[in-house]
Structure formats: C-alpha cells, structure tokens
Symmetry: D2
Subunit: 124 residues, 4 copies
C-alpha cells in the first residue's frame, strides 16, 4: 500500500472498479442516468431480500450464513454503483457525507431531536 499513501480507501475502491469497467470497455454504458437506473435495480434486489419477513424475524435470519451472504452481495452491488456514479459525476462521497452530517448536526440539535423520528422541519 506504500504507493497509495495519498489515496483514501474510497478512492482505491473507486479505481479498482473503474479498472474492471475500463478493461471491458463498459464506460460507454455508464452515463449518469444509466448508473442511477442500475443503482435503483440493485436497491430493489436488496429490498426484495427483506420483503416476505417481519421486523421480529430479521435478527434470527441474519444468523443464517446464506442470508447474510445474499444481503452482503446486494450491499456490494449498491455500493459499487454508488461509487461508480460518484466517479462519473466527479463527486467526493466522503466529503459530501461529512457536509451532510454537519448540516444535520445543526438541523437536529441533540437536545431537541433525542429519541424522536420527527423531521427537522417540525421544530424549526
């Protein structure tokens, strides 16, 4: 990893996925709208893993290796297209997430929002 001391983990993963794509000449298919649709498809597969159960049964299901493997595989697909979309759009995911957390620190003061799922607009 010495040669990557200036690259973050997200950048490294982004580059690994980009190389996989480029070696197959698939960049031509990766327009922003196509990647959004692909992301939607993968989120749909993730949702389907949880569709015919209920909240109470999920913890038990997660003890099953087959279910964990399926869910992990779907999370990988979602993560992959999210990284790829950010790559194509030249948007820094880590930076955007930190900005969003900072905004929400202000929108949702800990003392007002504690234990409440209300939207911030309800106490602004």
């Amino acid at each position: 990893m010495e040669s990557r001391t200036n690259s973050s983990q997200i950048e490294v993963l982004t580059i690994e996925f980009r190389q996989f794509v480029d070696s197959r000449d698939w960049g031509q298919f990766h327009s922003p709208r196509n990647l959004v649709l692909a992301l939607v498809g993968e989120v749909g597969e993730l949702a389907a893993e949880f569709q015919w159960t209920d909240d109470v049964e999920v913890p038990g299901m997660l003890a099953d290796d087959g279910f964990r493997k399926s869910v992990g595989s779907e999370l990988a697909d979602v993560f992959g297209y999210l990284l790829r979309l950010a790559d194509v759009l030249q948007i820094d995911l880590a930076d955007e997430l930190r900005k969003k957390i900072a905004i929400n620190e202000v929108r949702y003061p800990a003392d007002k929002s504690r234990g409440s799922s209300d939207k911030y607009t309800s106490y602004e």
Copy 2:
C-alpha cells in the same frame, strides 16, 4: 486521529455517523428494514434529480453548481444510509465489494464481455 491508524476511511465515516445517531438516541429507529426503506427513499430523491431531462442534457446540467450540489447532497444521503445499514448488519462493505468484483472478473471475461452490456448468463 492517531488512535485510528488501524481504521479504514469507511470505518471512520461509519463511526462518525454512528456517533451522530447515538447522541440523538436514534439507534432505536435503525432496524434493518427501516434502513432499507430509508435508503429506498433517498435513492428515489436521487432518481428525481434526473427525471425531467434526457441523456444529452445531463452533462450540461452537471456544469451548474446548484444541480451538482443537489446531486451531491442526494448521493450523501444514499451513502449515509448504506454505511449505516452495513454498520447495523455488521457487514464489511469494502470486503463485499472486492469479493463481488472478483466474482465478476470470472463471470465476465474481458475478451468475451468487451463492449457488451449482455448479462453474463448469455455466454456462460
């Protein structure tokens, strides 16, 4: 950050988001199915950013700071709930993505899949 020298960037972001959640006692709302539904909601907002345009106009729109900011904000929301879901499920996103890329290296040999958007099942 010295005490985190062994933590990856994704772990650090996960911990930052977890602390934001815990300081508001919001962990009670973050069941796996709830986080999946929240992720779906955010992906829906991302899709909506691209709904009334067309492929040709998107590159021009991305030169607009307001549009880029909106898209970056939606990507942050998707990324945040994805990290949070992986945290709750104790699934390693980076590890899962690398496993998936390795699987797809085999499913899609570069010479067979080059320039084709066909699903791997079509040439297995």
Copy 3:
C-alpha cells in the same frame, strides 16, 4: 359516461391523466426512461412514509387520517406514473396483470405453495 361505454375504467383514468399532461404540453418530458425515474421517485416517497416505524405500529398509524391521507397521496402518484408509462409504451396493464396471474397460477400450484413465501424456483 354514456359515450364511454366501451372504455374500461383504466382507459378512462389514462385518458384523464393524458389530457392533463397534453393541456400543459408535458408530453415532451414523458419519455419511457423519464417516467421510470419519476415512478422510482414516487415509490421512494411511499417507502419513506413507512421508514421510521415498525410492523406492529403500522395498523394503529393507519387509523390516523393524516397518515392515511399521505399514504393515499403517494399511492396516487405511483399509480399515475404507472398509468402514464403504460400509456406511452402502449401496454395494457389489465391484460398484463391477468397474464401474470395466469402464469403464477401454474408456477405456484395452490397445494405446493400454501402458506409458503418460497420462490417458485425452489419447487420446480
């Protein structure tokens, strides 16, 4: 309604929505992919209505007029874009649904599938 005796309810609703669209010259925005993205956005809003609760609380929430109204409004949005997409694609929703039910009658024989959420591929 006398002049519409040969039109089904779905055709009538489709025409009502089409007239709303045409009187605003919005057909230019209603390409298939745009309508799919719009449908995704509305399904995301529907999912968000159910995100910070749990299965046990939902029946009680549905007794609340405000919640019912919000959910009904989101269902209308999903239904509207689904009708509009079928209209643009010239696909008969009622016919397609009946064909799908007929397929599933065969895939899921009542005696084999009773009380089971397994996918048909598990007992074919």
Copy 4:
C-alpha cells in the same frame, strides 16, 4: 360481466389478485411494509430493463417483441403489488388519482406551466 355491473375494473382486478393470494394463504405475508418492499423490488426490475441503453435507442427497442414482453411483465408486477397494497390499506386508487389530478390542476395552471418541467413551488 353482467353480475359485476356495480364493480369497477380496478375492483375486479383487485378481487382476482386477492383470490389468488387467499387460495395460497399468502395474506399472512402481505403486511403494508412487506408489500411496499415487494413493490420496490418490482420497480427495481422495471428500472433494470432500461439501464444499459439510452433515450434514443428506447423507441427502437420497443419494436422488439421480447423487450416489450419483458417490460409488460414488469409493469404487471408493479401494478399487481400496487393493487394489493391499496387493497390491504383499503385505499381507493382511482379516487386518490382523481383527487391528485384535481390538486395538480390548481397547482399547475395550464398557462403558467405549459412546456415547463419546473415544480409548482417555483411559481406559487
């Protein structure tokens, strides 16, 4: 159809799907949140049909019988779960859609909104 003169087409389709479900004792799986997740899964499959193409190619693809059949099948799945969700929630889809169109007739006056994809909030 004489015996159904008081049932709308949507009611008839809803009852047909309900009978399919009840004869398999699947109602136990059809909680509102489960049906929302199932709807998300099907919308994901619909989105995936349009993911590796572009706006210009779609009309040509729609001339292909195989593609039309796949898209029709996905629309049927989305429509089915939407009807089923409305059935379980006891929400009248046609009534909700008409209410929504009426609201949008006011929100989007034809003269102000003609040819514009701006959200109504921009000219209220």
